[in-house]
């Protein structure tokens, strides 16, 4: 019997199990101890572990990040939760100048086992400052790990791995993924960094979907199947380190790559994946395209918001043009944009 949890429940379970196993793990951040419990991902932890291990903070993202680093230097394993990724812009100095660099600039004398959970906002007119997905900023910086699991299974395993890892990890979650349901084993397990997952096999085109876009790629795959196009969907899971070989293996077969990111494109993860693949495959014997946010600030009004985000149709249409450049442009009829989703990923 499969055990079904939501992504949010999977995160909660992983956190709780690690907190039980290791007394040095603690959770902090704005709202982690309130009745909403960060979309349920921290609910009940305060009751179970007390206010020393589960605490709210002042509105001080910069210093609170430094506090996590300092606690990590002292041997603790902090999990710092941000209900919006956008707030990390206040913490860049600590994350980039200190967390990422401490081990190196102190010649290996210390390590910083810090997990930073960054939730990408979406839907209901979040607008300019509550919708950003800034993982590529952190992928640029040596000394940080960046992971963005998509399925509940990977969410739990990756979070546990992140907590146990001795380095700073930016743990990227998409708000809409919290609702996704899937099989999650009860026991503790880890999903290693640097291993991408083939979510669905295919032979004509490789769709690499980052974070919530992996879900959208699965939907695009259905659209494409109706056109006789057989898409393979890959979820990189971890962005730094990046498992380029799994992607390359797929593209060697399909010859075509679409990278769908849940973020802007310029200097984004999509550019990195395409370039890395070209380097890895020793040339460019493949066709590639990328899709992501429109190159503008996120607008709240629905008609613009719908056009700001890429969706299954955009991905499918792009894959179609890549494979059939001479065919008339095709875009499947758009379903209503998702505000909540059920998705049971195969693993």
């Amino acid at each position: 019997m499969e055990r079904i949890l939501t992504y949010a429940q999977a995160l909660l379970e992983g956190t709780e199990q690690e907190m039980r196993r290791d007394p040095s793990v603690f959770v902090y951040g704005l709202g982690v101890d309130d009745f909403k419990g960060i979309f349920g991902t921290t609910s009940g932890l305060l009751q179970k572990f007390g206010p020393e291990r589960v605490f709210d903070t002042p509105l001080s993202e910069d210093a609170m990040t430094g506090v996590g680093i300092g606690a990590a230097l002292a041997g603790l394993r902090p999990i710092h939760v941000h209900i919006r990724f956008d707030f990390l812009l206040l913490a860049m100095n600590q994350l980039v100048n200190i967390a990422a660099k401490s081990r190196y600039m102190y010649g290996g004398a210390v390590s910083v086992p810090l997990v930073v959970r960054a939730i990408i906002g979406r839907s209901w007119g979040q607008g300019a400052q509550h919708s950003q997905a800034l993982h590529s900023l952190f992928m640029h910086i040596p000394g940080l790990r960046v992971v963005a699991p998509t399925t509940p299974y990977d969410a739990k395993g990756c979070l546990i791995h992140s907590i146990q890892d001795d380095n700073p990890v930016i743990f990227v979650e998409h708000r809409l993924l919290h609702f996704v349901k899937g099989h999650v084993p009860e026991e503790e397990y880890t999903v290693p960094f640097g291993a991408a997952r083939v979510l669905a096999p295919g032979k004509d085109v490789t769709l690499v979907g980052i974070s919530f876009m992996a879900v959208e790629c699965m939907r695009a795959r259905k659209h494409l199947a109706a056109q006789g196009i057989d898409a393979e969907v890959i979820d990189p899971i971890s962005l730094t380190p990046l498992d380029i070989e799994t992607i390359a293996k797929s593209v060697r077969k399909t010859g075509h790559l679409v990278v769908a990111d849940n973020a802007w494109l310029s200097c984004g993860a999509s550019a990195e994946i395409i370039t890395r693949l070209m380097e890895h495959m020793g040339g460019t014997a493949f066709k590639a395209a990328r899709v992501g946010f429109a190159p503008v600030t996120c607008p709240p009004t629905k008609i613009l918001e719908d056009n700001f985000y890429p969706g299954p149709e955009t991905v499918a249409s792009l894959a179609h043009s890549l494979l059939r450049p001479n065919a008339p442009k095709w875009t499947p009829a758009a379903a209503a944009k998702p505000e909540a989703i059920e998705f049971r990923g195969p693993f």
Partner: protein, 313 residues
């Protein structure tokens, strides 16, 4: 005379928000909405003492401030509806109201971020030898952000024409101020920068108005920044339209004195019935018009998605 003015603005704000809350469940207003209900008098009391050319900066909880400073009502409601004739063409939403003509210079969803902009605007006013001043509104949570301290330090150092207005409603989302700050002495921390500070009952609109008048005069005359802490209370949930006493982070008992001290009700009681009815009828008509306008106006074209990223010279 003054109390009629106060009442008209207060009542307008209260009723606009109630109306927005009534509409909200229909999903016509699709963006996170932070109501000022219960706290309106801070904005009204302060702004009534400002001049048209004076400028305000606020937070995502900005409906009251926008209207108190004279922001265009139709454009505001259209903005809530995401319409192209909204004050931000549907690209701001409830959290980012603006009306430069009325001196409403913006409001940000990132706590504390407009404080330094307000200081920069004040720097510019001084630089340009303009007689205007800036009033900078923020919550009790914002004083925990480093930017607040950096801004205060610089504004005092440069003796800028700015009034800092901390709306202390005792909560940041569900966290009480005493779980976030060692002592509830915001004004002492501001005072340590060497400027005049005062704590006010934020619901005492007349008192706030008088205090602002004299502070604004002093600031306008080159006296440098001043700091107000205005105690008040939010009646509804942090974001959204419901009451939230059942959720456990605060009690109705705590709220009761603030409800009893409702400036709208208190002012209403001071006016004679006819006056009051005339005001209320006028306000209701404006509101009816504005919501009808917002309903009728078109959404942006898709092509608007790509506009306003950069200003072309």
């Amino acid at each position: 005379m003054l109390s009629e003015q106060f009442y008209e603005t207060l009542f307008l704000i209260r009723r606009v928000e109630e109306e927005a809350a009534r509409i909200y469940p229909t999903d016509k207003i699709r963006s996170p909405m932070h109501l000022s209900i219960g706290q309106e008098s801070v904005s009204v009391g302060v702004c009534a003492a400002l001049r048209a050319e004076d400028v305000v900066f606020g937070t995502y909880r900005c409906h009251a401030l926008y209207l108190a400073k004279g922001g265009d009502l139709k454009k505001m409601v259209a903005e809530l509806y995401g319409k192209y004739s909204g004050c931000a063409k549907g690209k701001g939403g409830s959290m980012h109201l603006i009306d430069p003509a009325a001196g409403v210079l913006g409001s940000s969803a990132i706590v504390g971020t407009t404080i330094p902009q307000a200081v920069g605007y004040a720097l510019a006013l001084k630089y340009q030898r303009k007689p205007a001043i800036v009033a900078c509104f923020f919550g009790d949570g914002a004083v925990e952000e480093g930017a607040f301290h950096e801004s205060l330090n610089f504004a005092v150092l440069k003796k800028l024409p700015i009034l800092f207005v901390c709306e202390n409603n005792f909560y940041a989302i569900h966290s009480h101020i005493l779980t976030r700050q060692p002592t509830a002495n915001v004004i002492d921390r501001a005072k340590a920068y060497g400027i005049p500070v005062a704590q006010h009952d934020g619901n005492d609109i007349a008192g706030l108005h008088t205090a602002t008048k004299s502070a604004a005069d002093a600031i306008r005359n080159g006296g440098g920044p001043q700091f107000f802490e205005c105690l008040t209370y939010r009646w509804r949930e942090h974001v959204g339209i419901a009451e939230d006493y059942h959720t456990g982070y605060r009690t109705r008992e705590e709220a009761q004195p603030w409800h009893d001290n409702d400036p709208v009700a208190k002012l209403a009681a001071q006016l004679d019935a006819q006056q009051r009815q005339a005001i209320e009828a006028r306000v209701e008509e404006r509101i009816r018009e504005s919501f009808a306008y917002a309903e009728a106006e078109p959404f942006p074209e898709v092509s608007a998605l790509y506009e306003d990223v950069l200003k072309e010279s």
